[in-house]
């Protein structure tokens, strides 16, 4: 025969890849959306901006206050008309307002930490310019710890969340879609080994996983200079293990569902607690102590904590053994149950 022997799992995987790539919307949500989100959050929480205090100076003929503060480091000056003072403070446009004296008046809300800081910084600059001599000799030593910014902390969270979302949706949807079109039943009527069908979903998932994880990590490195403190290989291993665990979960959700609406509901039920509790955007330690044992059992918590351990703290595999065990158990249990419960009709 002139045609080469075709291998079912290769053809099935190719079919999955083609189906995905011919769905422009899916490509956007899997690849572009996480990057846009990382970019938006990275910009919003940039720390350079927070280090600058904005002070308002009330316009006054004889005053040189604005001039004096203009060149000081870390201070931005806004000149205010007397009538604008209250509104500017209320809206948070300035942290503190200086009313030229004598005596010089600082107007601020002491319950706002940034206002208290701004008052101290401005006062310090003005007192020194006026010739104050420090009784105690001192010198500032600033430490810029790499990987201590919010974006450094956020990227592993986004990576974990992205792995969860794409693994669950892509497997759950395509399986239920095929079932609702009676395609699963038709495939069962061929000699194709059934396990190859399930494996092809996993293989196709892993191909895209490499691309989407790499896209996010390279993006974070190029745009924000985020660099993993620990081993890249270990990060890759965790990404893979996380994808297996969530693919298994996706398959389990899809074992019985016959409609897209049904499976979507279950997906949301499974994902919602993890979005909220697993510490993607804010540390999960903020939740009450009583909830912590449950939060730690969630696979997304395990994945995000392990990724942060390696990327921020530079941990080796031994230090994140518990998280690795959680993900491994999740993988084995969900695949085992799925194969047992899977409905082809």
């Amino acid at each position: 025969m002139p045609e080469p022997r075709l291998i079912p799992i290769v053809e099935l995987t190719m079919a999955r890849l083609r189906e995905f790539l011919r769905e422009p919307e899916a490509v956007f949500w899997v690849f572009a959306f996480p990057l846009l989100m990382a970019f938006a959050l990275g910009i919003a929480f940039r720390q350079e901006r927070a280090q600058e205090v904005v002070v308002g100076v009330v316009r006054h003929e004889a005053s040189t206050l604005g001039q004096q503060l203009k060149d000081a480091k870390g201070i931005r000056v806004r000149t205010l008309e007397p009538g604008e003072v209250d509104a500017a403070l209320r809206r948070g446009q300035v942290a503190v307002v200086l009313v030229p004296g004598p005596p010089l008046v600082y107007r601020f809300d002491p319950s706002r930490p940034e206002s208290r800081t701004a008052r101290l910084v401005v006062d310090d600059v003005l007192q020194r310019q006026a010739g104050r001599v420090e009784p105690i000799a001192s010198r500032d030593e600033t430490v810029l710890a790499p990987g201590s910014r919010y974006i450094d902390w956020l990227i592993p969270g986004l990576l974990g969340m992205n792995i969860m979302g794409t693994s669950l949706w892509s497997i759950g949807f395509s399986v239920v879609h095929a079932r609702s079109r009676k395609l699963l039943k038709r495939l069962m009527a061929t000699p194709m080994p059934r396990v190859q069908y399930l494996a092809s979903h996993l293989l196709a998932r892993l191909v895209f996983l490499v691309l989407e994880a790499a896209a996010l990590l390279v993006f974070a490195w190029l745009v924000f200079g985020v660099r993993p403190a620990g081993s890249i290989a270990l990060v890759a291993g965790l990404v893979l293990l996380g994808a297996l665990a969530f693919s298994g979960l996706g398959l389990l959700i899809a074992t019985r569902a016959t409609t897209i609406e049904g499976v979507s509901g279950w997906m949301n039920v499974v994902m919602m607690p993890m979005w909220l509790l697993s510490g993607v955007f804010f540390a999960s330690s903020n939740f009450p102590d009583a909830a912590q044992p449950i939060i730690r059992l969630l696979p997304l918590t395990a994945l995000v904590d392990a990724l942060r351990g390696v990327m921020l703290e530079g941990y080796g595999a031994a230090a994140i053994g518990r998280e690795i065990a959680t993900l491994t158990i999740c993988t084995v249990a969900t695949f085992g149950l799925s194969v047992k419960l899977f409905r082809w009709r």
């Binding site: 045609e3 079919a15 189906e19 079109r181 009676k182 395609l183 039943k185 009527a189 061929t190 000699p191």
Partner: protein, 327 residues
């Protein structure tokens, strides 16, 4: 089992000598809760023949064919396919059977060529992709996506996927339902080609013309049982008459008493369906003048009168008193 013996017309009459049995089921029962979909059904399909299961919707045709395909398990009875058994020889059977299901929809985003190639990869033996696509007349649609195909083209693709492993037996569940006449004829000639190559076909249909033109033998199925079995010609001949005369009266006038019609010359059977009366007749040149004389004496007026050659539809009517399509 008692009460399940089919009203067989010359059983086995169409058996090609020495052909052997491709499919056999005995005492087949399948229940869904209180509903008995298949009720002690007996069936034997010979190698190389095209066998039709004819019956109304809900008669148990699909359940029967899916049990033979190994997609459903029967509650009772035995099934023998190519001398092999489901549950024991599945892998071997799957390689040798080609199956088209009633409702399968392939992936919208894949092309005809890709879908055929995918199914080809499942079988150890079989035809090339180009060969199979030209066989079903889809070679020009090779790069068209599934979503862009017409109903007839989708159905031919389904048959291509069933034929791609060069099966010994082809199962078709209502292959032409919903197709336009031209698409139906295309599919029929495709199936005739497969048969010419020695293949065996089991198909279900509720179109009598499909059964008459394609099938060597037909089993009429109703309420989960085979109620008649034979070649289309034999079944029609079993009516004892080759023609059907149908007529109705103008509005407000009653039909004549069937007991007056039955003794008319050449009339074998009389049945009344609403306002229409049908006479099963062996000799219409005797029956029609006699009918007109009778009506003339009564001074009643006809709304219409038609005649047609008897079909399997008439056989079904004769056996059950109901129409196939709305039974």
């Amino acid at each position: 089992m008692s009460g399940s013996a089919p009203a067989s017309v010359a059983p086995g009459a169409a058996a090609a000598p020495g052909a052997g049995v491709a499919l056999r089921c005995q005492g087949l029962v399948k229940r869904y809760g209180d509903l008995t979909a298949v009720d002690h059904l007996e069936l034997e399909v010979l190698r190389g023949e095209c066998f039709g299961l004819l019956g109304p919707n809900g008669a148990g045709k699909t359940t029967t064919i899916e049990i033979l395909e190994g997609l459903l398990t029967a509650d009772a009875g035995t099934v023998d396919v190519l001398g092999l058994r489901w549950g024991r020889d599945d892998r071997q059977l799957r390689e040798r059977l080609g199956i088209q299901l009633q409702e399968t929809q392939f992936s919208d985003k894949l092309t005809v060529g890709e879908i055929t190639r995918l199914f080809r990869s499942f079988y150890a033996r079989g035809r090339g992709i180009d060969e199979i696509l030209s066989l079903v007349g889809l070679e020009a649609k090779r790069d068209a996506r599934y979503v862009a195909l017409s109903g007839g083209q989708k159905q031919r693709l389904a048959v291509a996927c069933a034929l791609v492993g060069s099966p010994d037996v082809l199962f078709l569940d209502e292959p032409t339902t919903g197709l336009d006449p031209q698409s139906r004829r295309q599919l029929w000639s495709l199936l005739e080609g497969y048969r010419a190559g020695g293949g065996t076909i089991l198909l279900t249909t509720h179109y009598m013309d499909e059964a008459e033109s394609l099938c060597d033998r037909v089993a009429v199925v109703d309420k989960g049982k085979v109620i008649a079995l034979g070649t289309p010609r034999e079944l029609i001949r079993s009516l004892g008459a080759e023609h059907v005369v149908e007529f109705a009266m103008v509005e407000g006038e009653p039909l004549p008493d069937p007991e007056l019609l039955r003794p008319l010359p050449g009339v074998r059977d009389v049945r009344v369906q609403g306002v229409t009366c049908g006479l099963v007749a062996s000799e219409i040149h005797l029956a029609i003048p006699a009918l007109l004389d009778l009506l003339g004496d009564r001074r009643t007026k006809l709304a219409f009168l038609t005649t047609h050659s008897a079909t399997l539809e008439d056989v079904f009517m004769h056996l059950t008193g109901r129409h196939l399509r709305d039974a």
